[in-house]
Symmetry: C2
């Protein structure tokens, strides 16, 4: 338990740091937890409940000193998507499904952590995650426009949401719209104008920054006042009664039916939650030259979600913006989360009656402003410049998420990353190589002025040989030989080959017979030790119509001494020449 | 159209060769086409129809001189599995579904061929295909035991078939059982004893071989005689009336419902059919030093399946055993298939009434004997020896196919191959390397006696860096540095790296900052040209906390001259030493 290691050295100064960070995070988290519960389609108190026990559990089992666990936008959207489909068909009760989703996701994360399977998260490529988050942000912002207009907008995809907004055009509630727009404008000003103004008033940069974090809470406070004072409670959608008091222990409804329909969405939520959390955790740890242990993080997040489910909450993870605030505000240990939990607990005990008149439009405005910061299109620009195939994976993920929903979006992202990688390796770069004069080094004949032999085809295969590319390589060699009927030897330079799988072995056997039938030798040079060991074990090298050479130069000078023998003497006389050569 | 190229040089001797091969294939194909239709759950004439027009279409569009197209066992099983599920729920008519399956599969193959996507078949690894075929063979043989026992055995999985056989234990038809057993024993004798006997009687080896191909037809003939003579038509299941005459043009039922439920099974059938066909085609072409064009093969098989659907047939492909017989019998061009089509056409016109009394048990016996030759467990033994991960993929494919059906079996095989490859590359081999004394070559410090520097960590990464392994590599480097606090430079030797994707670039950026914060340099040596070009374009090398070296020796001798400078002189003095070194 990580708490035992940092707990031993925990001193009062740590507590001051953690507590001051916790106050700021609490101020930020109160409106967020209400808003994200709204986004997830849950009553507001569920958001508060998800911000108490999970934080305590993460404090005990987590490793990140800065991560602020709790409800987050993308996971709330995924929760809504997962449960929305099921409750439509009347299969399950909404709140029990949310609680179950937290339990399943917690158990999955815990098991992944215990079995040290954190590396599985690596199969989601970073750019694809970024694309997914952009699309999820757009979906969230669009879904919240309904609350701003005072109409009900529902749907899991962008077209469905837009149609639903359009259908409600005659029911726009002008009071809600006014309140929503004022809140949006105010929150945008908080983001860009408040801190400079406070600094101009003489406040220090960090104090000004911290006060501006209270912007959303201020919007909540003022809007409650306005609704109450002008008696608008009947004309706009308000939060209404929130039960006062701490969450009680709940026992999730462990029906097999529920597990059967929720395990897959829970898996998606676990993966996305873990990846989001671990990447912000790593980023913040790196700033302090610390590291986090991703398997222990899985255990920490698993415990947090299990705690969420037993205290009537819904799936949680480490939020990006909130963790950055926690870090900037000086959180020194995971205890900051524990103090935040106390803050939210106190709020739940005391302040919930005062939230009765809070307009939903204001919560929607806080969500819209929060998710707009997630929409960072620079990943599209960067990947377009660096790698077209990554760009298409990201772009496809965005499109599928927007038009077909979050679950298909994640699935598409994972499949596209894997498919593109396999596609790239299925048509590997194969360089025909020749000798750099007066050295023993071989380089691509297309990039360098090199010496080649008329009877040897020297190929450097820049990839493992495996099922997806073995036949491509075989075909390329056969095509190449058709063009040069004088070739008597094929020498494969294997510096880049770390793996030859069973399919590739079959293809090499077939290539060997093909070449043997034409009296052409098949040779290997610079085979890596483990690869050669396995080829020997498979008895492939026994009937190889050629030899295995340690060095490529050795191969060509033995197979075609006429062309190369003089080069050897030259190379020995002028070894220093080779330093300047280049692949 | 390939027919135009071989047609131009087609002469009478070719026709003699093709016709004699066609006679033997026709004799073999008559009982097979009836039997495979039975296996697919279709009336026997559908098997004959699938052996006429598809062969003509393949003759026009196909490239293999030896491939014998028509109904085959595995595809028939897959057809039965695909349609069986649907007709149970009463969604579709069995025969229209089979015709539709041929059309969809034909269109898919044609499109893959036109868009030159034949390489996609490479994503099915050979060993996995072998495993799938073993399991399919076992399923087929078990399903046919029902006909031998004279009871109805149905089911898509081995347990279902066995339960269904066991449930029918009280209804065993002893007449069918007798006929089936005699046919089985006779067919086994045909396989092993007939040819030697005929040779002992003085016939030439090839004549004896060709006569023994008629074994199944002889079994058919004799069993019809026996059933008719002893009037067993009422006591055993017989084929019954087969409509006389050629297939007429049929227009597939193009309902969207049908397409929606059949497209996925059609895709599986296309892939398995293509892979089976192209591998036998390639093997036979290689024996004559010919090659086949896999994209043109897709077009040929696509045309064959479309022809099947428009002439009331069901999915076809190139069969393994039949193509080998066609090759051995001397088929010289695709015209052999056309002549076979004429043979089957004549049989359909004239002989079908005589097949009335043919017992289904005899057809089942011919199927059992045919598929037992598919069950070759050497692939399990070989892969166990060569590669445990391939072994597990094959073994898993067999188990899933047997216990969960053919479609899940194929899906499992594809997923397992890809997952295992990604898993292997996600934890790449990373060798710490040192200088082989008196050379400029670097080798793994664990395998060789080499010189290392106390301040440089030299690592050779034996894999592309991409999303699935980038963080593994970063973590490994960080772990390694924790153990050696004196390290001031990390030099990554990139000879095996052909690809650094966008995720990997992000991780390298983070590694670069991590090392920079600790004042440790990050250097690259022997970067391949295209990889360096892309890193430059992404501006990564601009803020790299280190240098890019052309050679690893150059890197270490510049970064730690104290350790390496003398080695340079030694190496130059004794260059010849490096020839004997080894990775």
């Amino acid at each position: 338990m990580p708490i035992l290691s940092w707990g031993k050295t925990y001193r009062l100064p740590h507590f001051y740091q953690d507590a001051s960070a916790a106050i700021i995070v609490t101020i930020m988290l109160i409106p967020q937890s209400l808003a994200y519960a709204l986004l997830a389609g849950l009553p507001p108190e569920i958001g508060l409940y998800a911000s108490i026990m999970p934080l305590v559990a993460y404090m005990i089992f987590g490793t990140s000193n800065a991560l602020a666990v709790g409800p987050v936008a993308v996971i709330s959207l995924m929760t809504a998507a997962a449960i929305g489909k099921l409750t439509q068909s009347g299969q399950v009760d909404y709140i029990s499904a949310a609680v179950m989703l937290a339990l399943l996701s917690g158990v999955m994360l815990l098991l992944l952590g215990i079995f040290r399977l954190g590396f599985l998260a690596n199969f989601l490529s970073h750019p694809v995650i970024s694309g997914f988050i952009i699309a999820a942000g757009l979906l969230i912002a669009t879904s919240q426009l309904g609350h701003i207009f005072g109409i009900s907008a529902s749907g899991q995809t962008l077209p469905a949401l837009l149609v639903s907004l359009f259908d409600g055009r005659d029911d726009v509630n002008s009071t809600a719209f006014m309140i929503g727009c004022v809140a949006l404008i105010f929150l945008i000003w908080v983001r860009i104008g408040m801190k400079p103004l406070l600094q101009a008033c003489g406040l220090s940069s960090s104090l000004a920054g911290n006060i501006s974090r209270a912007g959303p809470l201020l919007a909540v406070f003022v809007s409650i006042m306005v609704v109450q004072y002008f008696a608008l409670g009947d004309s706009v959608a308000i939060v209404g009664t929130i039960p006062q008091g701490l969450p009680s222990f709940t026992w999730p409804d462990l029906s097999l039916d529920m597990i059967e329909v929720l395990w897959l969405p829970a898996l998606f939520i676990s993966i996305i939650g873990f990846v989001e959390s671990v990447s912000v955790g790593q980023t913040l740890a790196a700033r302090k030259n610390e590291r986090i242990d991703s398997n222990q993080e899985l255990i920490g997040l698993g415990a947090a979600n299990i705690a969420a489910s037993f205290s009537g909450g819904y799936p949680v993870t480490g939020g990006f913006a909130r963790s950055v605030v926690n870090y900037d505000a000086g959180a020194a240990t995971p205890a900051a989360g524990g103090v935040t939990a106390i803050g939210i607990g106190v709020a739940t005990l005391i302040f919930t009656p005062y939230l009765y008149f809070l307009p939903k439009a204001v919560l929607a405005a806080t969500i819209i402003i929060a998710v707009l910061s997630l929409i960072d299109v620079s990943v599209l620009k960067n990947s377009w410049r660096y790698s077209k195939s990554d760009f298409f994976a990201i772009f496809g993920t965005i499109i599928v998420t927007l038009f077909m929903g979050v679950e298909l979006g994640v699935s598409f992202g994972v499949s596209a990353s894997i498919a593109l990688y396999l596609y790239q390796t299925s048509q590997p770069h194969i360089a025909e190589i020749g000798l750099v004069p007066e050295t023993q080094h071989f380089r691509n004949i297309l990039r360098h002025n090199v010496i080649t032999s008329p009877i040897i085809l020297s190929l450097r295969i820049d990839e493992n040989i495996y099922f997806a590319n073995a036949e491509f390589i075989e075909k390329l060699i056969q095509d190449r030989l058709e063009k040069s009927p004088n070739i008597r030897h094929v020498v494969l330079n294997c510096t880049s080959i770390s793996l030859i799988d069973a399919s590739a072995l079959e293809v090499l056997e077939s290539l060997n017979s093909f070449l043997k039938a034409r009296s052409i030798g098949l040779h290997f040079s610079e085979l890596k030790g483990p690869v050669e060991d396995r080829l020997l074990k498979a008895k492939f090298l026994e009937h190889l119509n050629g030899q295995v050479f340690l060095h490529h130069f050795e191969a060509v000078s033995e197979l075609d001494p006429k062309t190369y023998i003089n080069q050897k003497a030259l190379a020995e006389a002028d070894q220093s020449a080779h330093d300047g050569s280049h692949i």
